[in-house]
């Protein structure tokens, strides 16, 4: 491609044709401020450069008006000035205009401290809001158990729309209305819960303000912890093992498992367990289910079921494909009923008193736990006083806030171990946190169960990494098992259309994760969650897998124990009662 030469603030620079002024300026060390611009929305090819906020304007000699640097490519011999007095004044006034219609309650705003709008105002030295006038008073939408929208803090940057429409192809949000009355809202102006929103939270990850965020459930957990009658147990999802540390200044991807356990004990949880344990349990059930389907001519390819955003997506947009989804509950929802049955029995605790909290990377997990059918323990004991299987789901961000509230010096905590019975997790479970991980974990177990031989190489590199769709095949006693992996719902849609058209009949197993990068990129993870962060977290996941002594789910001694003492066998009667579920066709577009 041809190179273009231009001058930026007096410096000559040569860049490939098509480079934006913003990126050309970076090359000569000039940082042009941006607000609405986002280079990658979850995946590298999803760009967001609508030029809405007009904060990145620059002057180009020979042009009467300012141009936005985020979406204007440089031209040969352009002479660009990025911080003339006029430009600086314009940027500040544009921000002032934005703030003149913003509910500025920063100290109590959940985005305080990580808000891009706040940060930019500090950077650009905005000290007053001169234009004053009408302020909008729009109702807060808290209809969803996962996501809260405060449109009074929305700057209409439309990042959320790109995340929802382009990345996830859910298209639950829209820009509506004209002029000052324009708003970003759920499609048709409905409450979010009544749209096809799958609660993935990718919109929350990219929102630069406090306009879209997770629903905060920390208050309920503080209350439970303070209640002496309650026996509060907690589980920590695989991906949180490498993400919580970021908020406390540790490098992205650092393994903080031991510190997280220590922090949870200090917060007052009665028992600290690991979702890695129930991830191993999931592999047992899901692996056996796959073998069963292959042997008995069941519906293939089988889809994984760990990602609740994906489940809702399939229910909404591909209800005809629901029989492909594994009937296994997700690891979170396997943990809940086991805590209120097996653990309760072993410890002699009244299951009514057990309160189950999850630490999850995911906003959709809140929705999943609230599904009416997720009350297997109550059915098992035939006791309506037992609450739902998982009582509260906290996202990574909420746990981070609780640790801060309690004044715990997280980065300097000593490592502590999980409690026994449901605390042991293998490397196979650990990699559930990254895209391709569930598949790899399943293959590690399925291979050994089917062939009776030891797997020569544990690492299935083909299914790892940020490539949208990945595939692999493994020979198991003459049967070539073919698998596919997709992450982000846009990528999932590509595969599902093919399944619907009957093109993927010779594949056996498809892993789908709603979020780019898998759970490490979940909608409840620390902000920012950029593509780079996702990649570093993935590295952290595989490093921890390598470090663990046991790396195959069926070798987990606590999993072997629960089958021996309680469940008896995978896909057995108790398993069906407690660990399997069914799905509901929804959606209007079908």
């Amino acid at each position: 491609m041809a190179n273009i030469t231009c001058t930026i603030d007096g410096q000559r620079v040569s860049v490939p044709e098509g480079t934006t002024i913003l990126n050309a300026a970076k090359q000569v060390g000039v940082k042009i401020p941006t607000l609405c611009y986002l280079e990658h929305v979850g995946l590298r090819h999803v760009k967001h450069e609508v030029g809405e906020c007009r904060v990145c304007v620059v002057e180009v000699e020979g042009k009467k008006d300012f141009v936005t640097s985020c979406n204007t490519p440089v031209e040969e011999n352009m002479i660009i000035h990025t911080h003339t007095p006029k430009i600086i004044a314009a940027r500040k006034l544009n921000l002032e205009m934005m703030l003149s219609d913003h509910h500025l309650d920063c100290p109590t705003c959940p985005k305080n401290g990580i808000c891009e709008l706040q940060k930019l105002c500090a950077e650009l030295n905005v000290r007053q809001i001169r234009p004053q006038g009408e302020k909008k008073e729009l109702p807060i939408d808290d209809s969803s158990p996962s996501i809260i929208r405060d449109p009074n803090k929305c700057i209409l940057c439309q990042r959320c729309i790109t995340a929802c429409r382009v990345l996830q192809t859910v298209d639950a949000l829209e820009l509506y209305g004209n002029g000052y009355d324009a708003v970003v809202r759920p499609k048709g102006g409905l409450p979010l819960i009544e749209t096809q929103c799958v609660a993935c939270g990718q919109c929350a990850l990219v929102c630069p303000t406090g306009a879209i965020l997770e629903k905060d459930d920390t208050g309920t957990v503080w209350k439970a912890l303070a209640d002496p009658k309650k026996h509060v147990v907690v589980q920590t999802a695989p991906s949180t093992h490498v993400t919580i540390g970021e908020a406390f200044g540790l490098p992205v991807g650092t393994d903080i498992t031991g510190k997280m356990v220590a922090a949870l004990k200090r917060l007052g949880f009665n028992a600290v367990f690991d979702t890695n344990w129930s991830a191993d349990l999931t592999i047992m059930e899901e692996g056996y289910e796959l073998i069963h389907r292959i042997k008995n001519g069941g519906v293939l390819p089988q889809f994984t079921s760990c990602s609740p955003g994906w489940i809702k997506f399939c229910e909404e947009f591909y209800p005809d494909l629901l029989p492909h989804i594994s009937s296994c509950k997700s690891p979170q929802q396997m943990f809940g009923p086991i805590a209120k049955t097996y653990y309760a029995e072993k410890k002699g605790i009244n299951p009514e008193d057990i309160f189950v909290v999850s630490i999850m990377p995911c906003t959709a997990k809140k929705y999943e736990a609230a599904r009416p059918e997720m009350n297997a323990a109550a059915t098992y004991w035939n006791n309506p006083n037992i609450t739902r299987d998982v009582d509260v789901v906290l996202t990574s961000r909420e746990l981070i806030r609780m640790i801060r509230e309690a004044g715990i010096d997280f980065a300097n905590l000593p490592d502590e171990p999980y409690d026994p019975l449901m605390g042991e997790g293998t490397g196979a479970a650990q990699i559930f946190g990254a895209t391709g991980g569930v598949m790899e974990a399943a293959l590690r177990t399925a291979y050994e169960v089917i062939t009776g031989k030891t797997l020569p190489k544990l690492d299935f590199e083909d299914v790892r990494g940020m490539k949208e769709i990945k595939e692999a095949s493994v020979n198991m006693n003459g049967l070539t098992v073919k698998v596919l992996v997709a992450h982000s719902l846009g990528a999932a849609r590509q595969l599902l259309d093919k399944v619907r058209a009957g093109e993927l009949k010779d594949y056996h197993f498809i892993e789908i994760m709603a979020c780019p990068g898998g759970c490490i990129g979940g909608g409840g993870q620390p902000i920012p969650t950029t593509v780079e962060e996702r990649e570093n977290r993935i590295k952290g996941i595989y490093e921890r897998d390598k470090k663990l002594k046991i790396r195959k789910s069926h070798e987990n001694p606590e999993i072997q124990a629960i089958y021996k003492e309680f469940l008896k066998e995978p896909l057995g009667h108790k398993s069906h009662q407690l660990l399997h579920t069914h799905y509901t066709p929804r959606g209007k577009s079908n």
């Binding site: 609508v50 030029g51 809405e52 906020c53 007009r54 304007v57 009467k64 008006d65 300012f66 936005t68 006029k86 004044a89 314009a90 006034l93 544009n94 205009m97 934005m98 003149s100 219609d101 001169r130 234009p131 004053q132 006038g133 009408e134 700057i155 209409l156 439309q158 820009l175 209305g177 004209n178 002029g179 000052y180 009355d181 324009a182």
Partner: protein, 105 residues
């Protein structure tokens, strides 16, 4: 007439960019104050700045025109504005000769 034009801008603005969406609203609020004689010197000065920035940094010509229209008004119809501020307009819009200057430009 400027008020009318800003009304038009508001109704037709796609709402996508800040200067046009919020800025034209803020300008209109000040212009209304000019008409009813309650505007302050400070507000005139911020209107000046707004019109400048909106005229130069809006995304499309609609917002740019809104900014420029106000800018020219402030430049060429100062007498009219002063008259309003002093409690009564001598002319019925748009008879002010200042408008001619804009049209001829």
């Amino acid at each position: 007439m400027v008020d009318f034009f800003l009304d038009y801008t508001q109704k037709n603005s796609c709402g996508e960019c800040v200067p046009c969406r919020i800025g034209s609203k803020r300008m209109q609020e000040i212009v209304k104050k000019i008409s009813n004689g309650s505007v302050s010197e400070e507000e005139i000065s911020i209107l000046n700045e707004l019109s400048e920035v909106i005229g130069a940094s809006s995304k499309c010509d609609l917002g740019k025109m809104a900014g420029k229209a106000v800018k020219f008004t402030l430049q060429y119809c100062k007498d009219d504005i002063d008259a309003h501020r002093n409690g009564g307009c001598g002319y019925s819009v748009p008879a002010n000769p200042g408008w001619k200057a804009i049209v001829l430009k």
